[in-house]
Amino acid sequence: MPKDSGIGASSKRREDVRFLTGRGRYTADIQLHGQTYAAFARSTHAHARIVSIDTSAAEAMEGVLAVFTGADFAAVGGNPAGWLIQSRNGEAMKEPKRPVLAHGKVRHVGDAYAAVIAETVEIARNAVEALEVEFEELPAIVDMAAAVADSTNRVHDEIADNICYDWGWIEDNRAAVDAAFKAAPHVTSLKLINNRLVPNAMEPRASIGVYDPGTEDYKLYTTSQNPHLTRLLIAAFVMGIPEHKLNVIAPDVGGGFGSKIYHYGEEALVLAASRRIGRPVKWVADRSEAFLTDAHGRDHVTTIELATDKQGNFLALRTETLANVGAYLSNFATVTPTFLHGTLMAGPYKTPLVYVNVKTVFTNTAPVDAYRGAGRPEATYSIERVVDKMCRELGLDPVAVRRQNFIQPDQFPYQTPVGLVYDTGNYGATLDKLMTLGNVSGFEARRAKSAANGKLRGFGLSTWVEACGIAPSALVGALGARVGLYDAATVRVNPTGNISVMVGAHSHGQGHETVFAQIVADKLGIPEANIDIVHGDTSKIPFGMGSYGSRSLAVCGSAMDRALDKVIAKGKKIAAHMLEAAEGDIVFEDGKFSVTGTDKAKTFGEIAFSAYVPHNYPLETLEPGLEETAFYDPANFTYPAGAYGCEVEVDPDTGRVEVVSFTCADDFGNVMNPMIVEGQVHGGVAQGIGQALLEGCTYDDNGQLLSGSYMDYTMPRADDLPMYTVDHSCITPCTHNPLGVKGCGEAGAIGSPPAVVNAVIDALQRGGMTKITHIDMPLTPSRVWAAINA
């Protein structure tokens, strides 16, 4: 029987009621007394020197309150990279300054070089048009290979080859890997592009800065997945505001998918502007600005080689990647193609030797950073595509080959050759589950039916593992992270026994308000309705590192679990006093503290009341009150894994691909709310199918963004996608966090693109087009048609 509340129940989401009735409160919905509006002047050139900016006409316009240019921020710090990567020759990476407003040069279309504050949005925008700016246009650097080859044209004048770093992982293994390739009976090579994507959270970014001249406090409402990090970056690096004088609030946030992890210059601008004019300053991005300036995702060009014996046993794997970082380093841009990508190159396989090389390249395009999956989709796509290609070259069954190369259940904990130690997993189990759920044995009959309708049907498989629950602080610190990646929670038991839990994780669609309450309810034996989850306000929450990397439950949920343990431990002391028993004899079960072996008991509510009305209370040894905080730093990453199967029909006349079924067998460890977990997988798979078939962020040779609106960038719509079959019954609980959870937010986006592409190649191969071994994403009708008709 499914549970109807607590851990494991598909509790309906409490946040839905406000969202369904129009009572959500997103940043753009907030109207403050005396509010003014910011508009940004954004470069239409990809690369140009700013010769002069004349603001006088704009400043003279009625209703204009202030104009800012890069010169206003020349003295303050820049937005830093969150992670320092060392090149394989031992040199530190290049870290060019990322100013609040461009100063000296603009480096991508959309780069903001000035801002106007005015009484209305319309006046602000008109005033932007009135700025007189002279640019000296420079050649745009768009193609990564060209950027590296031409040292005369530089995105940042001080970086000669446009390379941020040239990273090798693991450098000590390189010679052994090369030797294994030389000796290998078979080598499969594949050059592939992991297409650039725009995250496209449906809520565009927005920020409101509020400065209180009386208290000298700043408040920032902003669309953030990570309000504490935003506060830290603005305070310590960008503006020098004392951290205790800045409150960052991320209210309801309409999706993030990575793009709202980072601090953006607009946030600093509205704060600085509010201080200057003494009124709140609001900025809401339109969708064009979102396309031009939100951190994009992916954009790798990779050559991958797989060495095997003739039976398809993996002997060694080697990759070379150019990763586009765009014009500036977004906060986690440097770690995404390295430690979130190279360390995953073993996949679920026991490949003994792996070497990864990544050169990260500056170009005159928008910054690129973590987007749902962040590095792990790129790794998975490369591995799963080359494995399929190898199977075709050797005439082997792709299911059997994956199975024979899996790390076996008795090999955990498993040390991979790329640095990670997988704690637990059972990759054969999820593959078995997929074969059954997806009725893979019935494929041939379905293929014949498709063929009778003139369609080519194919089946594609992807088996994958990811590293989530980001991340152990000491480990990431040793690898160059400038932050710790623990999380925190405070459990505040109120005198009447209901509970407020302040969590560092931030919910922007994940349903934390529901799921976290389920866990508290389960643990304390009180109704979910008596528990409130508070998130997204740095003035209320002890600290937190936000939500990304499928970390909310695994890290912040663990902190909450620890805080609950402390509450129960203190409750036992209070109960022992009240029940005149030894503390060791008190047991806590079903919301009651009782003396073991007796019927003497106090309810949770009675203990809470006593803590705040301590008339019969051990005051000499115990403080009153019942509120506990825990910080939790994970011992390891978590390793969700799964097997995904996709069936497509290809129309050979038009090249159109239809995904006719998509099946997911996941191992997420313990599942807290199955309904929400399944929803997360659905959304991730849709984004993965979008990447595989529809989405491609495209710049022309001049650095102009060609896919800058929903008329040019193909978002997946309801009629592009099938119903998905999703299963999470294969469970190997995480061994090192108290809830045994692994994380589920990114899995769908990681596992699905190679399954789709493998299915299309399979359909074409089965249709007799045996020369087609690869098509780069997105597999649009024109690309597939061109491959068919080449």
């Binding site: 369904l20 009735t21 129009g22 449906m202 946030v253 929803g679 984004q687 998905y724």
Partner: protein, 161 residues
Amino acid sequence: MTKVTVTVNGKSVSRDVEGRTLLSSFLRDGLGMTGTHIGCDTSQCGACVVHVNGAAVKSCSIFAVDVAGASVKTIEGMANADGSLGVIQQAFQDHHGLQCGFCTPGMVMTTAALLADNPKPTEAEVRHGLEGNICRCTGYHNIVKAVLAASGQDNPAVAAE
């Protein structure tokens, strides 16, 4: 400025508006009804869908002056009289047809018009009917289920899970 009188969720309201004021801005900034969301600049995303005289309209693509005298219904008017969720809203909650909630008002309003037009749609008709509304969170699976459930059909796609 032009004085515009509109019936919004059954209540008559009058405001002075500029000729260029969009219905979406009129609702959000003029009336403070922020349930109607703005997700794009090109009438593509559908987050701003409301009903004008019963028809689903992207409120970012119509001027406030053009709805003078009309009856406008927004997400704020979709709950039952006692404040409980309406059938469509309840179906979205029951089937987890929303995550971040940003596209949700538009989805609900489009669904209401879709079902008024075609009370017993097939899955394909639902998907086609939602084609003008973008959701980035759900992959549409649970939205489609919610719409089918709201139609009151004993649909296998809903019953399967």
